[in-house]
Symmetry: C2
Subunit: 200 residues, 2 copies
């Protein structure tokens, strides 16, 4: 009933995250009905993707073939290094505008249960950079789950031995949150890390 090329497109699309079989069908039909130009333009984008985007060999983030914008940026504070799990995390942190140092992508978190040890992550590279780039502070920007905790613990001990200051993201209430919807653990951390308010 459905032409084969369309069927293949539907099955390819339904493998994308967050796209079920019904959405895949709708998208595929849209791509067909919207005309040859639009489907070819998306198709060519996809074919070019891996020719034009690379992982930076220094920070591990995404970069152009011509080199990594972040690592080349002289205006960034080279003494400040932010450790993240995935290349995507660099985008989130940079969007916030609150960090002006450089980045280092670990490529995962330590997880003995899943067989992920220090040698599977870009940890040796991290220590190399800390030594060579005269880094003074490492901000570990991982999540708040158990594996992140383990990774923070592992890194902190070894980074401290190299004589750098280690910090991690603050825990507390998210922006715009009301107390009503905060879970117990978040509140506990927010109370532990309470911030003094200065009277003027």
């Amino acid at each position: 009933m459905i032409p084969k090329a369309l069927q293949i497109l539907i099955s390819e699309l339904s493998q994308l995250p967050g796209i079920g079989p019904r959405s895949a069908e709708r998208l595929a039909l849209h791509l067909f009905l919207n005309g040859k130009n639009s489907s070819e333009s998306l198709g060519n984008c996809l074919l070019r993707l891996h020719e034009e985007v690379l992982f930076c060999s220094i920070c591990g983030g995404l970069c152009e073939v011509s080199g990594c914008e972040v690592c080349k940026d002289e205006s960034r504070d080279s003494e400040l290094l932010c450790v993240v799990e995935r290349p995507v995390d660099i985008l989130s942190i940079d969007k916030s505008g609150a960090f002006k140092g450089r980045y280092h992508v670990l490529g995962g978190k330590l997880s003995p249960i899943n067989g992920v040890g220090p040698e599977d992550l870009r940890i040796a590279e991290l220590f190399d950079r800390v030594r060579k780039e005269a880094v003074k502070e490492v901000l570990i920007a991982l999540g708040m789950d158990v594996e992140s905790e383990a990774t923070v613990y592992f890194l902190t001990k070894r980074l401290a031995a190299l004589g750098v200051k280690v910090s991690r993201l603050a825990q507390g209430l998210p922006a715009g949150a009301s107390l009503e919807f905060a879970d117990g653990l978040t509140l506990e951390r927010a109370i532990e890390n309470r911030v003094p308010v200065e009277s003027e």
Copy 2:
């Protein structure tokens, strides 16, 4: 910050229906991180799409280059013709399994406000087919909106003049519906079109 090829892909993806800028970013990153094979395979699908899928010149539905499966299917009742708005509608109706005739896609609905007249739709082709293919019944499977009503009215008069029986989809409660959530108009139609229940 985001490599250019990835930015272009994100903007292409965010033009698809139901995909906002955040989903587009997530999809683009997934396509990149999932490796060259998967993005190339989707890319090639898209490039092939318009080479391998056509509109059937008879029914107006989607078909292979080799010909339309539905129009060629001798097991279908050629005396029964179902008129739909879009090629997609053929898929919906055929999935239900309740219709075993042939199809005819109008390519739209009559809409004087939007400047869509009979000459903009595949209506002349419909009359031609009714005459040539010795159609006995035309089932008009349009929606329940004002434009569909106008189209049904327009077609019914002219088809009746050709001596064919004209029917349309029944209106009433959708399957699995509870009375609680049915709107007034649906209930009105369901009452008007009530079906006698036979005692055994």
